[in-house]
């Protein structure tokens, strides 16, 4: 394990070194592919000047609101749809009709309605993670093992208690899956919506840098995005671990 990590590190460093040399020796056009050192330098400049943190903050704010709204609406809805077959059947067709819409094409519609304001991006994000959250929650509730439900009712628990003490905790891992699957989608949609219609945010920053031909800045922005993606993923793992410690331990054990 350790050895393979070391291998990977060397390989990555070697690649970066080749990149650096290629740019310096002008085997590739350094105007289009600047040296790694230059990108990193620009990155740290933009980091300390506060420009990148500011843009990331703007993006994160939108992402967080849209994501939280989607969770607040679609987790309860998914639970209801899982519990009551009538509700599920009633909403099924509408969901299946809306689901195939690729989220980016909602952006123009949202722009008509909300202009270039934050609400536009929040709506797009809300829409884009609706389906993974809803469908995973629904599946989580519907797929609870019969033995578990039988156990709960043999202990004579009333319906309300069964929902809170058995159905919710039992479906929580799959609800978590829905939230996890949505995370990269949220990030993609923030970036897209900022590229298509915005005046700030990291997506806008990257596209704008390209348009002004500030190439090193563009790469620095991408580096910031990669780090952001990584950090968010780690944060999610942390949340998973502290919210569902039993499930975290269970899956770790199975691996």
């Amino acid at each position: 394990m350790r050895e393979s990590k070391l291998n990977g590190m060397f390989f990555l460093l070697a690649l970066l070194l080749v990149w650096e040399l290629a740019a310096r020796a002008e085997w590739v056009n350094p105007l289009i592919v600047p040296a790694v050192s230059k990108i990193v330098g620009t990155f740290s400049e933009l980091l300390w000047s506060g420009q990148i943190p500011l843009q990331i903050l703007a993006s994160l704010k939108r992402a967080a609101v849209g994501y939280a709204l989607a969770a607040a609406v679609f987790i309860p809805l998914g639970i209801f749809m899982g519990l009551f077959d009538n509700i599920r059947r009633a909403l099924e067709v509408t969901v299946e009709m809306l689901r195939p819409i690729p989220p980016p094409v909602v952006i123009p519609a949202a722009m008509l309605f909300f202009g270039l304001e934050d609400e536009m991006k929040i709506f797009v994000i809300f829409f884009s993670c609706a389906w993974p959250i809803l469908l995973n929650t629904l599946d989580g509730v519907k797929n609870i093992d019969r033995v578990l439900l039988h156990t709960a009712s043999t202990f004579g628990l009333p319906q309300r208690k069964i929902i809170w003490q058995v159905i919710l905790p039992a479906s929580s891992p799959q609800i978590m899956t829905g939230l996890r699957v949505s995370l990269p989608i949220v990030l993609i949609l923030v970036v897209i919506s900022e590229m298509v219609g915005s005046t700030d945010g990291i997506g806008y920053f990257i596209l704008d840098a390209q348009r002004r031909f500030r190439v090193a800045q563009m790469y620095a922005g991408m580096l910031a995005l990669a780090i952001l993606g990584y950090v968010l993923n780690q944060l999610f793992n942390l949340a998973h671990r502290s919210l569902l410690p039993w499930h975290w331990g269970m899956t770790k054990r199975m691996e």
Partner: protein, 259 residues
């Protein structure tokens, strides 16, 4: 498990009510109508666009870009994925690189692609390939690595050559994973094509939708959205049908991957 596949009357009724509410709400408020035209108007616009052939080139362009990008990504990702899954050393070299590149939202590659390839077909296909490669690649690697050692050893005891082990054991055994990756990438490819068309294109449904929005032709814009959704739906159905044909032995093991 096997619910009787009765026609879902309530579901369609609710959907009908939703459309009716849309229609009436839009007609009631002229201001709202600018943003959300009545459903009937959208349907008329859609049929106009189709009959007049105005969207045909856009639709075909988007489809072609999608197919090129997706198929190319599948070919590359499965090949590389099998190799990386099979050869431990290769995997140990690239694991970190993959883990580093993967969390970056793939659309961020669009500006780089514009820089390197200019605006045009090549750029759009390239970003589609890049983005849809990851899910397939990662799943294929996982799939190959999860193959029971005994399965390959069984092949060896039968004296199979490496090539036949690859075709007759490794690929089939990893196929459920590969299919999962292919399925996730299907939606991602469509997202990337339409996004790239919106950001830098003069053709394609993504461009069309954004263009209609900018000229405030909201009915046409919604018609375009319906077309993209229909395209996504058809591609998904097609995928499911092909998958069921190809993987009869593993029916009902499809998980939901979101998107």
């Amino acid at each position: 498990m096997n619910e009787p596949s009765k026609f879902n009357w309530t579901g369609w009724l609710v959907f009908g009510l939703f459309l009716l509410l849309w229609e009436c709400g839009s007609r009631a408020s002229p201001k709202l109508q600018l943003y959300i035209p009545p459903v009937s108007q959208i349907v008329v616009a859609l049929s106009h666009l189709i009959v007049s052939g105005q969207v045909t080139t856009h639709l075909l362009t988007t489809m072609r870009r999608f197919l090129e990008g997706y198929l190319l990504a599948a070919a590359i990702a499965v090949t590389v994925g099998v190799a990386l899954g099979y050869f431990r050393f290769a995997h140990s070299l690239t694991e970190m690189l993959i883990e580093f590149l993967r969390p970056m939202p793939s659309v961020a590659i669009i500006p780089v692609a514009i820089l390197l390839l200019g605006i045009g077909d090549g750029m759009i296909v390239a970003v589609t390939v890049y983005a849809s490669t990851w899910p397939i690649l990662v799943n294929t690697i996982d799939g190959v690595r999860h193959i029971e050692r005994t399965l390959i050893d069984t092949g060896r005891t039968f004296g199979l050559a490496r090539r036949r082990i690859l075709w007759q054991i490794v690929l089939p055994a990893a196929s459920p994973y590969i299919v999962t990756g292919l399925r996730v990438s299907l939606s991602i490819a469509l997202i990337l094509v339409t996004t790239a068309e919106m950001i830098a294109g003069n053709k394609g449904l993504g461009f069309f939708i954004l263009d209609e929005e900018r000229s405030l032709q909201s009915s046409n814009m919604y018609a375009g959205i319906i077309l993209v959704a229909a395209l996504g739906y058809v591609l998904n159905r097609l995928f499911v049908v092909l998958q069921e044909k190809a993987m009869k032995w593993r029916r009902g093991m499809v998980a939901r991957e979101g998107l």
